[in-house]
Amino acid sequence: MKTITERLRVPGAFLLGAVLLLGIAPVALSDFRLSLLAKYLCYAIVAVGVSLAWGRGGLMVLGQGVFFGLGGYAMAMHLKLADAADTGEKIPDFMQLYGTSDALPWWWKPFANPAFALAMTVLLPMAVAALVGFLVFRRRVKGAYFAILSQALAAALSIWLIGQQATTGGTNGLTDIQGFFGYSLDDPVNQRMVYFVIAAVLLLLMALARQLFVSRYGELLVAVRDSEERVRFLGYDPANVKLVAYVVAAGMAGLAGALFVPAVGIISPALIGIVPSIGFVIGAAVGGRASLVGAVLGAIAVAWAQSTLSDEFPAAWTYLQGLLFVLAVGFLPGGLASLGTVLRRRRTPATPKEEKVVVMAGEAA
């Protein structure tokens, strides 16, 4: 039997997070700091998905940049079209400069519709993930193969986007976004509104992920991670179990990318390739991949450290980043979230297996 405090712990923590993000942060932080936080929260949203797919499902998702980018481009394409319509132009500014014709490419056209574009920010990444996942998991490609395949896909998408300058903006990406569904992004009040949307989405997705974690499906996912063969012998199809986690994580990354656009005002291939894709799992790894709260806080903390430390000590920051990686992943696979558990374990010598630590850390979420 759980005590009453144990029962209230999760909703209590959730409420605390909501108060911090929606109540205290907007009051305590300047416009600029808040817009930075908005950006970090976008990375945190990706981390929620990473926590699900990697922490719980054991899928090394090293291609989240692909989904982040698809979501971001879907959103940015709509916003660019809306900006163009506002100024009475038929095509976005960059196409006038670099394009070859005055006609909008056919695949841009549907994005003029806000509902379609919004749906695409999530559905497009999920569809791509479903296709890739279906092919890959069915053929039982896993582990290192899956990780390297993900990297190859990220590289391919970013090279392709760069090559299509006339229709995608090339290396520049889509920049200079003025409005967000009719609201001017120049206005600090609207910037705050964007922050609130992002914070709310993060909290909602964390709630959703938490429900997935504790559901039957969540148990199954962990089982697949720890022993795929046994799950198969029990009559489940591990491919489908993994596919769901992968697709949901992709949808979250897509949504994060879409929200990143109004928060930062740019989406570019620089956010998609191999390095940023590894970047998306760094935070989760450091904070604790299997712990939802750990992954989210880790993502925010790493992004924050990146932007504050890299100015003062660019060289030292690179060393620190590398070291953090080595220490967190190498010696503390449950991330900082498992620090308490690990220390407790040290005191009581009945050592459970390494893998166990991860699961326990996860339950603390």
């Binding site: 759980k2 144990e6 029962r7 209230l8 999760v10 909703p11 409420l15 909501a18 929606l22 300047s30 600029f32 817009s35 950006k39 809306a82 900006d83 506002d86 100024t87 400069l97 670099y98 090279i159 760069i162 090559g163 300058q165 090339g170 290396t171 520049n172 990406g173 200079d176 003025q178 409005g179 009719g182 609201y183 001017s184 120049d186 206005d187 600090p188 009040v189 609207n190 705050r192 609130f196 709310a200 909290l203 909602l204 709630a207 938490r210 429900q211 504790v214 930062v264 005002g265 740019i266 570019s268 956010l271 990146q306 932007s307 890299s310 100015d311 660019p314 060289a315 920051w317 690179t318």
Partner: protein, 417 residues
């Protein structure tokens, strides 16, 4: 199991509260309403020092180039402070690292303007980083001085373009090639905005002036495999190669070029992104005799340049070369100083109004600010890589060329913008 249902209900309440709070959030100005709010980013000029922002990549792939620009910016700040500062105030440089990442550039630009309240910002290298920060400077009505040659087709009211635009680098380079009788060109470039735009201009020029583009190839940024491209170049029957490759790719390209038996004599390459620093890292073994197009070389004659080179090498090392973007960065601070002093104020609107006609005896020769386009009159110079790794000028435009970012003064370019 009961714990589960409680948490589920709790979460549901939380979630609905969230939705409500998001919906209740106050909404600001609509797009196109023209009230782009004061944005409240006033530069701080109250103390005895004013802050200037230096925005360069100190880490990441672009750090190689941008650190040198950063160094020469710091040198200029030091010199200006030693001679009494600007309007009696000393400059305090605030460095922010763009980390070779465009969204980071936008973030850091905002930090400089809003947190540090700088009076002006100097930096950016790639077009992508400039495009990323442009809306930020426009939103907060703050000034950026951009020191690198670029692809033109841009006139932001809040950016001063101190590097060359296309009619001060690409067009004179084409004039030079034409005069040498090298009329069949092969275009090789990295896959990004500058090469693609430059090549569009080259093709328009070629068509109008009886030159011929016999091939055009792009390699992804950072690509180091050029055997196929060099094969194509070799078989195309070109007179010259117009090279807009950037960074690492140049090293691989020229190594491949030489081993395919191509030389500066048999098929000269004119490069627009290879300066003294790059020559050092590629090696004169591969580059000797090849052409470059810039507005400044370390060897450019004149007392102003002697002083600049000596000061730079005294500060950063005897073996450190100076290059065009470094020189442009260096003079950008001096030009800004002149503007502020002419305006008698740090106020952005007044500085902009005072900018037209400001001249400066720069290392590259006399430069003059064109207030209308916020670009600079610059002398174009074609150079040849020597065996000592320095670039010797072989031709110059004689007088500073009026900047024309949209190439409006060139009839053959009418279809471009």
């Amino acid at each position: 199991m009961s714990g589960l249902s409680i948490s589920r209900r709790g979460l549901l309440y939380g979630a609905s509260a969230l939705g409500a709070s998001a919906a209740l959030t106050a909404c600001g100005a609509k797009t196109g309403s023209g009230t782009s709010s004061d944005a409240g980013a006033k530069a701080d000029t109250s103390g005895s020092t004013v802050k200037v922002g230096l925005l360069n990549s100190l880490s990441g792939t672009m750090a190689i180039s941008e650190v040198t620009v950063h160094n020469s910016l710091l040198l200029a700040v030091k010199e200006i402070n030693a001679s009494g500062g600007v309007l009696g105030k000393k400059l305090k440089p605030i460095s922010q690292d763009g980390a070779s990442d465009w969204p980071t550039f936008a973030e850091k630009a905002e930090a400089l303007i809003k947190d540090d309240k700088v009076v002006a910002t100097f930096g950016c290298w790639t077009s992508a980083s400039r495009k990323a920060v442009k809306p930020v400077f426009e939103r907060y009505k703050s000034l950026l001085f951009y020191p690198v040659q670029y692809e033109g087709l841009e006139e932001s009211p809040y950016i001063f373009y101190i590097g060359a635009t296309t009619n001060q680098q690409i067009v004179p380079a084409l004039d030079y090639l034409k005069k040498q009788g090298l009329t069949r060109l092969y275009l090789v470039g990295s896959d990004y905005v500058f090469p693609r735009t430059a090549n569009k201009i080259i093709k328009a020029y070629a068509e109008a002036k009886g030159m011929k583009v016999v091939g055009e190839d792009y390699a992804p940024l950072g690509s180091t495999e050029f055997s196929t491209i060099v094969n194509k170049v070799k078989g195309a029957g070109a007179d010259a190669v117009f090279n807009t490759l950037n960074g690492d790719s140049n090293v691989a390209f020229f190594k491949e070029y030489k081993s395919a038996g191509l030389t500066a004599k048999s098929l000269p390459v004119l490069s627009v992104s290879i300066a003294e620093e790059e020559v050092k890292s590629i090696g004169t073994q591969y580059l000797e005799g090849q052409l470059t197009a810039w507005n400044y070389y370390e060897t450019t004659p004149g007392a102003a340049n002697k002083k600049f080179v000596a000061a730079y090498q005294a500060a950063y090392g005897k073996d450190k070369p100076t290059s065009d973007p470094m020189e442009a960065a260096y003079i950008s601070l001096y030009l800004w100083k002149e503007m502020v002093e002419k305006a008698g104020s740090f106020d952005v609107a007044k500085v902009k109004a005072a900018s037209d006609g400001i001249t400066f005896d720069a290392p590259e020769g006399t430069v003059t600010v064109d207030g209308a386009s916020q670009h600079v009159y610059k002398t174009a110079r074609i150079g040849k890589v020597g065996s000592d790794g320095l670039i010797e000028e072989v031709w110059n435009s004689g007088k500073p060329i009026k900047p024309d970012p949209y190439l409006k003064g060139y009839s053959w370019a009418s279809a471009l913008s």
